[in-house]
Amino acid sequence: MSEDITKLENVASQVRRDIVRMVHACQSGHPGGSLGCTEFFVALYFSAMERKAGFDMDGIGEDIFFLSNGHISPVFYSTLARAGYFDVSELATFRKINSRLQGHPTTHEGLPGIRIASGSLGQGPSVAIGAARAKKLNNDDHLVYVLMGDGEQQEGQIWEAAMYAPANKIDNLIATIDYNGQQIDGSTEQVLSLGNLGAKWEAFGWDVMEMNGNIMSDVLAGLAEAKSRTGKGKPVMILMKTEMGNGVDFMMGSHKWHGVAPNDEQLAAALAQLEETLGDY
């Protein structure tokens, strides 16, 4: 187990290098939330999810994942590339003209691994519910995962989905909220308080659990726990405590790096903290 964790931590270190290099290269994008969710993505794609080789849109016979808060596309793209969906060299095209790696994830350019466009917030849970429904209709006992932001909880559609899934016993669905307490204009507390988020989801009928999102062993244990709670008549919700900008000391814990790219000196300072484990693209 500890060897496995070391291996995953090595992948995470490389993904963090990819993230800061990608946003630096195009001088735009969202490093903060991407860095905070790195352990989650790596644990999901390199351990928790049952995945088929290659990619097809329908994803029958495998677990599938949707990113609702599409602005953290750098961590999604890096993870997909490192997991073999496309060549890592393509990460260099992020946010540039004629790229499959659009600012926010899309299916339009045919990038393997992406099943829905996201970026306009609040839509992922509904899509995930539909895909979970389709799995049940197809007698496919695999799971559907969806990640949302915490600021995203301010969107009304989130709560339409929150009400629907338990009422319809969508129990092949694991949703996660990146609970970093930050959004563009400041802390979620300042902008629009989420109140007792766990109690809200619980009141809607979800099986709610908490997880530390920046410790690999905790993420692995949390995802295993979440999986064990599926198939019991309720959708599962993980409140994942993370730190925006985690892994790069000067980006940590502040909303200021939500959507800002590092300059040359900042890139060098960030990369000095992140070991190159798998080879830069």
Binding site: D58, I60, S120, Q123, S126, A128, I129, A131, L137, Q157
Partner: protein, 317 residues
Amino acid sequence: MKKYTYTDKKDTRSGFGAGLLEVGRKNENVVALCADLIGSLKMNDFIKEFPERFFQVGIAEANMMGIAAGLTIGGKIPYTGTFANFSTGRVYDQIRQSIAYSDKNVKICASHAGLTLGEDGATHQILEDIGLMKMLPGMTVINPCDYNQTKAATIAIAEHHGPVYLRFGRPVVPIFTDSDQKFEIGKAWMVNEGKDVSIFATGHLVWEAIQAGEQLAELGIDAEIINIHTIKPLDEEAVLKSVAKTGCVVTAEEHNRLGGLGDSIAQVLAKNNPTPQEYVAVNDSFGESGTPAQLMEKYGLNAANIVAAVQRVIKRK
């Protein structure tokens, strides 16, 4: 003028209900969703026969569009059902991102479109939906004219991969198209060949155009009437061929004159063959409560308005 008669009248939404049942029997991947308007959308027969393939979403249209998009991932062909207003304006961003931009095979089925929804008034009478939907890249926009055509269209769209907006209505109207017709997306239907004016009509206005054609014949005007059931992709060839013969155009639709069928036709003509055109459409306003017939008269959408528009446009040739 070719003679059109009818022996029965039904609402186009019932054509949708009948088509949904039939396409459900033909294709096991067809599933249906509704946002608390099962009776209004005539979905009962489908639900009775395929309860496991129907999803009641409640009054949550945004969630319905997202769930529909998700259902396509796994090979399902979802038909969503609610009023046209709640199928478009209310959920535009969900359709734009999760369905159109993501190229999802969702059929957005919209009843109670336009003024003929009647007494509920302007909150529910959307007159902008054709424009909203046709602006989305990749979206097919269909507005059939009677029960039989709506049924045929409902069945045909399952065979087309990609998002479709299917628009129909509430009132009982004459059934004048064939019950065994083959519906071809994007292929205009020649209702009556003529030489003096081209009348391009869609939805409920097709029957009004036929009535107008008969009145025009008595006035010695030989009107060509073409049913544009598919507004996007538009049958440009049929439009240009007709206009080359007649030299003037009237468009007729139960929609705002901004952004509807008339503008689609005008764009084709401006590029290829600039031609005098008159619009029979709602003149950039909201509707109001009233009976369908009262509203069609007050807002200038009946046969008499088409006749007057023809007389105006012929003078501009």
